[in-house]
C-alpha cells in the first residue's frame, strides 16, 4: 500500500494540456497527407501504390481533365504515396485534427488537363506530365533530347511511326 502512495505522489500530474495547448508529435509523424498541387504532375504513382485506395484518379467524361482525389476518411496514413512520388509532391504532415461533420469535407481533389495527341487528337497523357518530361529531356540534352519531338504523340501513333520508320529502313537496306 505504501508503495502505491509513493508512486502516486511521485507521478504528479501526468495529463497533457491538449486541447488547451497544441499537441506536438515528433518529426516524422504520419498525419494528414498534404498534396502539393503545383509540384504534382498527376502521374498516378500514388494512386497505384495506395493500399487503401484513398487516392484515386478519375478521367472526366469528355476526357479533357483527369482528377486526382484523396479521401482522408479512407486514408490509412501509411505514407506509401510519399514514398513513391517521383516529384515529392505529397508529404505526410503532423496535422491530425481531421474530424468533420459532413462526409464530403473528407475529400480533396485537383483536376489536371489532359494532352491530346498532335497526330490523331486522342487524349493520351496529362499535359503537365508531358511538359515536365519535355523540360527534363531538353535539360539532359544529348541523345535523350532527340526524343522530344515524339512527346506530343500518343503511344499508338508513336508505334505506328516507329514501325513505318523501321519499314523504310529495311527497304533501304534491301536496296543497298
Amino acid at each position: 500500500m505504501f508503495k502505491l502512495f509513493k508512486e502516486i505522489r511521485e507521478t504528479g500530474d501526468a495529463t497533457v494540456e491538449y486541447p488547451f495547448a497544441p499537441y506536438e508529435f515528433p518529426d516524422g509523424f504520419r498525419g494528414k497527407p498534404e498534396h502539393n498541387e503545383k509540384l504534382c504532375i498527376a502521374c498516378e504513382a500514388c494512386a497505384i501504390a495506395c493500399p487503401a485506395n484513398a487516392i484515386t484518379m478519375e478521367l472526366s467524361e469528355d476526357q479533357s481533365l483527369i482528377t486526382w482525389n484523396i479521401n482522408y476518411g479512407r486514408c490509412i496514413f501509411c505514407g506509401r504515396c510519399q514514398e513513391v512520388c517521383p516529384m515529392f509532391a505529397i508529404e505526410l504532415t503532423k496535422e491530425f485534427e481531421l474530424t468533420v461533420l459532413n462526409k464530403a469535407d473528407l475529400g480533396e481533389s485537383c483536376a489536371y488537363e489532359v494532352a491530346r495527341c498532335s497526330c490523331c487528337g486522342k487524349p493520351y497523357a496529362v499535359k503537365k506530365e508531358v511538359d515536365y518530361v519535355r523540360n527534363l529531356l531538353s535539360k539532359m540534352g544529348g541523345p535523350a533530347a532527340t526524343d522530344i519531338k515524339k512527346l506530343d504523340r500518343c503511344l499508338d501513333c508513336r508505334r505506328l511511326e516507329d514501325a513505318e520508320a523501321f519499314q523504310l529502313q529495311a527497304r533501304h537496306r534491301g536496296e543497298a
Binding site: T15, K38, A52, N53, Y72, R74, F88, L98, V100, M140
Partner: protein, 260 residues
C-alpha cells in the same frame, strides 16, 4: 473510383436507418445546448482493435477525456453518443443496429477511424458493408488509422460543437499553363535519381530524403571542389548513421565520376 465501380448486381445494399424529422430537430437542439457530461458507448463493428485501444488511451491518465465529462459507459441505454469503429462486418450489422436502437434519442453517432468512416483498407471486401453510414445515420467522422488520442479528443470536441472542424472539401482545377520545375537542375537528372534511390535504399523514404537533399544541396553549392565539400559535410556530421549514408553516396558519386 474502385468503390464506385462495383457492379450493382454483385452487392446487396442494406437500407440505412434514417432519422425522422422530429428526432433530427431534437438532436440539433441537444447539440446546441448540451451542458452536461457526455456518455459514450463504443461499438466495435469489425475493426482491428487499434481504434479500441486508442480510445482506451484517450480515457486513461495521460489524455484523460473524462476531465471534460466524456465518459465511456457500459450500456447503450446510458449513452448520448454511440461510437462505431470498424468496417461494419456482416456479423456485426444486427448487433450494431440493436445497439443503435437501444440508445435513447436524440443521440450522436460517431464514425471512428478509417474503417468506420469509409471502410478503410477493407472498403470493398465481401464480408463488410464499408463503414458505419451504409447502415446508420452518422453525425461526425473521425478519420485516422487509428485516430490518435489527441485526434479523438478533437473529434469529441467537434461532435459537441465546442471546436470547429478544420478540414474542408477542396476541389481545384490546376491552371492550364502550370509547369513543374526540375529539382536540383545543376545535377544531371540520372545522377540525381540514382542518389535518391540509393539514399532510399540506405535509409528509407523519410530519412533518406532528408539526407540526400542535404547531400545534393552541398554538391550543387560548391561546383569547384565537390569532393572537398562532401568531405567537409561528412566531417561536420555528428550522427554516425548519417555519416555512413553520406559516405555511401560519396562512393556512388565517385563511381559515376570515374566511369563518366
Amino acid at each position: 473510383m474502385l468503390a464506385d465501380n462495383i457492379p450493382p448486381q454483385l452487392q446487396w445494399k442494406p437500407d440505412p436507418i434514417t432519422l425522422d424529422a422530429k428526432v433530427a430537430e431534437a438532436k440539433k437542439k441537444l447539440l446546441e445546448s448540451i451542458k452536461r457530461s457526455v456518455y459514450v458507448y463504443r461499438v466495435d463493428c469489425g475493426g482491428c482493435n487499434g481504434c479500441e485501444i486508442e480510445i482506451f488511451a484517450t480515457i486513461t491518465a495521460v489524455f484523460d477525456a473524462e476531465r471534460f465529462g466524456i465518459k465511456v459507459v457500459p450500456s447503450p441505454r446510458h449513452a448520448d453518443m454511440l461510437l462505431y469503429t470498424g468496417a461494419m462486418t456482416r456479423s456485426m450489422r444486427e448487433p450494431a443496429i440493436r445497439a443503435y436502437h437501444a440508445a435513447p434519442d436524440p443521440k450522436i453517432v460517431m464514425s471512428y477511424g478509417a474503417c468506420g468512416c469509409t471502410g478503410g483498407i477493407f472498403h470493398d471486401n465481401y464480408c463488410v458493408w464499408g463503414g458505419t453510414d451504409p447502415i446508420l445515420p452518422v453525425d461526425v467522422y473521425v478519420p485516422g488509422c487509428p485516430p490518435t488520442p489527441p485526434a479523438t479528443i478533437f473529434g469529441f470536441a467537434c461532435a459537441l460543437g465546442i471546436l470547429d472542424q478544420k478540414l474542408h472539401a477542396s476541389h481545384h482545377v490546376a491552371p492550364a499553363d502550370d509547369q513543374t520545375f526540375v529539382a536540383f537542375p545543376a545535377i544531371p537528372y540520372k545522377v540525381r535519381t540514382s542518389f535518391e534511390r540509393e539514399a532510399r535504399r540506405m535509409s528509407g523514404y523519410y530519412f533518406g530524403k532528408k539526407i540526400v537533399d542535404e547531400f545534393m544541396l552541398t554538391i550543387s553549392k560548391d561546383k569547384e571542389d565537390v569532393f572537398g565539400a562532401i568531405d567537409r559535410l561528412i566531417g561536420n556530421e555528428t550522427d554516425a548513421r548519417k555519416r555512413a549514408v553520406f559516405m555511401d553516396l560519396r562512393a556512388l558519386l565517385m563511381s559515376k565520376v570515374v566511369k563518366g
